[in-house]
Symmetry: C2
Subunit: 754 residues, 2 copies
């Protein structure tokens, strides 16, 4: 199958010939077909060329006659023929392919036009040969051999000019300048070409034209990688111009590109050499002066200055400092370190686990590799890729403008799965609402204690010696929680709020440094030695797999009662002051057996019933479990009978299914990806074949036992487009992600349902 | 349905009547039926008694006629009737039931015999009523009401004597004394009764007889709990006497009781009050003087004295002390702590994690609760239940006599699943061989480094800064390993040896105490500060889920090469000096993806092939994986294509499936069992519904992909009878347990296949 077709005037290609066209050839025909002048071109397929050569050895002339006729059309029958150009047709990748060969003399006779020793046929042969070893097309030479194309063109006369169909940064309709050179002067007729190419391509294109005496001749067009903001604006603009339907726009914007719009980022990393690389644990970039303690951070913030808090690791005492800082940089810890968790919640960029960093906070000095930095020196960090730069680099601020809102509005028309957010403060709840969150899918109640005065109360509870002692400590916590819950319920104005019961490894909330231990002992009225003994007793070898989640509720039922009472008091307070109902969903974490759920449910039901609130029409309550352990997935049928909903905690489920601690994985994960053991980091994109099968088993068994079971996803995978597409196929009812990921989830799930 | 039957002479009961008999009633009929004189007895069922009372109110006499005739037989028609006895018939539990009522006058007329106001009928009524609220039978009153029986007997004349059918400690055929009182003088005819009851009961029985003028009258028999050794000897003796077939003996001995024979144990714990309770992490009891350091332990051992090593926790530096000590007691750690692992390997009793214990080894003082102990004071520990006693308690030494050997020999006739052992030293291999192990199913190669001089070499490797550095350190380890492997292969004389590749969380092998860090720094030629920095870098938050297993082999391929070279050198050395072939199976731990297996297999195959040994008829090699992560179970089909065998590591699989660190579980596991959340400790008995399903999925998918796949179990569950029965149903080919558990596995698996 082959096609030799002239690009002079309308081509009248057959459907099978059109199918063969790709890359530059396709654009020349598209533009020519639309009636715009293009450079005269012959499209020569590999099959056609092979057949021309075969005829030549068989002394036949059937195809050659057509070929020569085409050449005549190109060069004209009279006068001096123009020089010819031979080029490959690859649209994007032309590494290894023959560069365009210019200035070839027209063949003197038909035999010359197919003789590989003569200039034209030689150039054609070289062009085809170059496909053999280059990464032309998809790099699969056998499959694509039939699609290889060489173009023979009349060399254009006049100036060759390049321009973009749209502005690469703003997305405004072009012609627009490409790179740093100014936009060349172009005739008015160019506007029609720009509209034509933009409409057909549906993406930014870089075009070449020849301009001679105010006449434009189209040469070629190839895709151009614009900024995420420009792509988004262009998509919305195409809908406004009725080139696209709203549905087209929703399906064609890449959610991963959208995500890049939602945090400050480096304007460009070209030419900047990072001085260190750690783990990017909270995305976005930040620049500022170095501070080593919360006081300095607060002082700078008060003066409106940006600062980067640099510490070995963060703990509860650093909360205020982290809130005041623009970004956080730590020497130790990973994704689920205190620094990582708090940074993501507060939306601060954070780079953690920089192994070449050491901090001497007393001396106010830190070393990064061989360089020394002092308080006041400037750093830039990129929490997206974990890089650290000396000095201040230019940042681009997130642009949550009209285009995002418009696109997401359209996306809601096809989306079938609800998008909630992970939030436990009114601030993050409001951010998420502004991004379109439809509820809170995960309020981590233990995070409500991340402030110094509350931490004292919490520590008193954890370190209590017996049940009485603990009950007294617990009572002191009810008030804090009640206020937090009622504020959160009110902020969500009737949308559902899922509260996860207390789930920390207890010792995460305990003092670690000498100084912190001394202070805590004083605040609790304990001798330092006695405190140390209690701390030793609580220390765990593998806290991820320790005394946490539902295990706390069962061994310390007084904590469970306190929480449930605080939740009910919060429901009461909110429902008394607002018109909307309060929809609260209480969720038990880290269960592995149905008996655990039964134990907790009985106690919770009693407290909920005793509150008298269940009879109110303004209160909706539901009870559910996190499903985040392999055993819970397998026993989902038993568990589903006792709950209204499942919410999959995919972070912990990935950790236990793979047997990998996310905090400790960095020591081997890079090597694993480099050696091809993992295609993707399973903590970023859900492992469909392992973790995914467990989720699928759990949904199937859970729904079989309880057809009204509601199913959500609340791990960090709920903000990853690839994972979201997988979840969508499993039939989940909602996902819950961090506030800044809500737009990504809305768009991805709209695409998945489209 | 009811039965009234006299026990005078042959009873000629119908089959349905016989079915009703249980407890004492059954024994009276059995003995009477065999022609031995028994006390005259009427067996009155609840149904019969209810019908007699119903007839009485209806003024009928059908059943009463039979009842009166029975009574006549009992008391005789002439002379003074003997006093009567009314008792319940419960064989074992009679808590709450009416005590035997003696000296009841025979009723004066038929109406008296059924009138609940008259002595006989009143006693009968009371006896039946007592079943109503007591724990008679199984404690399920409705179901068992039909089986309630009251006995009416002529009161025996003469002395009432009690004796056992067999010696309670040795199992030798009786009559034997019961308790501490001497055996009463009994007529010769008693031997026939003993033989009769032992043969019919198939267990130790306590009998009551009346002896009058050399004549014996049988009163009752009930089961007696003998020592495990006595039960075993009796079982073998019954086969020798042809009362039982060998098959009977195999199926009737309880493997859990057999296990108790295989370690020293407390002779009796009656009256001893433990001063503390920790975790029994290595079974058996030990008594001795307290020592706080290895030197003192070695000194005492040299003098032939028993000692208990008491420390906060053990580490590699304590190896010699642990070997020298009789038992080990630690304040910290759990089942998989260094102390627990080493103690089980070396067969030393160990109690770990005693939270009320604190040790000041410098001052040579420890406190247990409020008591203070010094070097030289005596303690007794019981590693089976975790109890600690002050002073020296009497111990019973394990008796691995002829009877065990005979029984296990018989058991091998029905057993279909092979029993291997977990061992990495020639000593434990020999112990296991003496217990009948058929190979080594798990040689933990990292345990070969548990000695001070090797530890230095290992630490050098772990702490090396780069690949070159590490390669040099690794080379120094080849020789150690080669010798170890060849010795182990030789000890096993052609039986298969499964070597697990290096699998520690690296930092388990690193120094922890100040002193140890200083020593290590010196031995490695490093500054203490530099060593500390490297240690910080290696430290893990959750080492169980960290940089271990196959992850080490992939990130540090030079460790893998070293090990494989050492294994091949060991194979060469062993095969050159022995006639038997060397059968080595190399096993990759902690895999979660098939790509990990492929990576390791390629490197191992190359080294094995290069050794030239694969062509030898004296060398058999196999390659397999541990399956110990949920993901490996799910992806078993992919993995099975690349291996010869799977070996399930049920300890880690239980940890990850439940999300429970075994080391940290003690803080909630007791509460979980007390509150009924777990019926059983999942680390002792396999969780069939969760972990079991994963194993079953893996076997099914693995065999579907590779029908020749061999399947083993090498977690500690392989020594637990209940778990072994479950594994047997899954169709595994072999199990591998600690040497002392080999007999338990042999017996259990014989029963499971019977």
């Amino acid at each position: 199958m082959f096609a030799i077709a002239p690009a002079i005037g309308k081509a009248n290609l057959s459907a099978s010939q059109l199918k063969l066209l790709s890359g530059k050839a396709r654009w020349i025909f598209r533009v020519g077909d639309a009636g715009f002048p293009t450079v005269p071109t012959i499209v020569l397929t590999r099959a056609a060329w092979d057949e021309l050569q075969a005829e030549r050895s068989r002394k036949e002339l059937r195809l050659r006659t057509h070929w020569v006729a085409c050449l005549f059309k190109l060069v004209g029958k009279d006068g001096v023929p123009p020089p010819l150009v031979v080029r490959t047709s690859a649209a994007l990748h032309n590494g290894g392919l023959m560069p365009a060969k210019l200035g070839i003399s027209a063949p003197a006779n038909p035999e010359d036009s197919v003789d590989p020793n003569r200039p034209l046929a030689k150039a054609i042969k070289n062009a085809f040969d170059s496909y053999g070893f280059g990464q032309g097309w998809t790099g699969r030479p056998d499959e694509d051999r039939g699609k290889q194309i060489v173009l023979v063109q009349a060399q254009a006369e006049g100036e060759i000019e390049q321009f973009l169909t749209r502005n690469g940064t703003t997305g405004v309709m072009g012609p627009a300048a490409m790179g740093s050179s100014p936009l060349p002067a172009l005739p008015e007729s160019i506007a029609a070409l720009v509209t034509l190419v933009d409409g057909k391509a549906g993406q930014h294109m870089a075009c070449s034209v020849a301009v001679r005496r105010g006449q434009v001749q189209f040469l070629s067009a190839r895709p151009f990688q614009a900024s995420p903001a420009a792509e988004l604006e262009a998509a919305v603009d195409r809908v406004n111009r009725k080139v696209w339907s709203a549905h087209n726009a929703v399906t064609r914007v890449d959610p991963a590109r959208l995500a890049q719009l939602l945090h400050p980022r480096l304007k460009s990393s070209d030419g900047n050499v990072p001085i260190a690389t750690g783990l990017g644990v909270s995305p976005g970039a930040a620049s500022g002066v170095i501070v080593f303690n919360p006081e300095d951070a607060a002082r700078l913030r008060a003066r409106g200055k940006n600062c980067i808090l640099v510490v070995n690791e963060t703990g509860p005492a650093d909360m205020e400092g982290m809130k005041a800082a623009t970004g956080i940089l730590t020497a130790r810890g990973g994704m689920s370190s205190h620094a990582g968790v708090i940074a993501r919640i507060t939306g601060k960029p954070c780079v953690a686990g920089v192994r070449t960093l050491s901090v001497d906070s007393a001396e106010m000095i830190c070393r990064i590799g061989t360089r020394e930095f002092r308080s006041g020196d400037r750093l830039t960090i990129d929490g997206t890729d974990g890089r650290v730069y000396a000095g201040t680099l230019a940042l681009a601020q997130p642009h949550i403008g009209g285009a995002i809102g418009t696109l997401l509005g359209w996306s809601d028309a096809t989306r079938k799965i609800a998008v909630r957010t992970n939030a436990e403060t009114v601030e993050s709840a409001n951010t998420a609402l502004s991004f379109g969150a439809e509820g809170i899918g995960l309020a981590r109640s233990e995070h409500m204690f991340f402030s110094p005065e509350r931490m004292v109360a919490l520590r008193r509870m954890i370190l209590s010696e017996d049940e009485d002692d603990r009950s007294r400590a617990v009572d002191g916590l009810v008030d804090f929680q009640t206020g937090d819950y009622s504020a959160l319920f009110s902020a969500m104005k009737g949308l559902p709020v899922t509260v996860r019961l207390f789930d920390p490894p207890l010792h995460e909330f305990l003092p670690r440094t000498e100084e912190d231990i001394e202070e805590t002992a004083a605040s609790l009225g304990l001798a330092v030695r006695a405190l140390r003994q209690r701390l030793d007793r609580i220390a765990e070898v593998n806290p991820m797999l320790g005394h946490r989640g539902v295990r706390l509720a069962i061994t310390y039922p007084e904590i469970l009662s306190m929480q449930m009472q605080a939740i009910m008091a919060g429901v009461r307070a909110a429902s008394e002051r607002q018109a909307e109902p309060v929809a609260v969903e209480v969720m038990v974490p880290f269960v592995s057996t149905a008996s655990e759920v039964a134990f907790v449910r009985e106690r919770m039901n009693t407290i909920a019933a005793n509150s008298g609130l269940l009879r109110s029409e303004k209160v909706k309550m539901a009870f559910g479990t996190m499903i985040e352990l392999p055993r819970a997935c397998l026993r989902a049928g038993d568990i589903a009978n006792m709950v209204d909903f499942f919410s999959f905690g995919t972070n912990d489920l990935t950790q236990t299914t793979f047997g990998i601690s996310r905090d400790d994985a960095p020591t081997f994960l890079a090597a694993y990806q480099r050696k091809g053991i993992y295609e993707r980091d399973p903590f970023v994109t859900i492992d469909e074949k392992g973790v995914g099968e467990l989720i699928s088993i759990a949904i199937q068994r859970g729904r079989a036992a309880n057809p009204r079971l509601k199913i959500g996803i609340c791990g960090e995978h709920a903000g990853d487009p690839t994972s979201l597409k997988f979840f969508s196929g499993l039939g989940v009812d909602y996902v819950s992600c961090s506030p800044y990921r809500v737009p990504v989830a809305r768009l991805t799930l709209a695409q998945a349902s489209a």
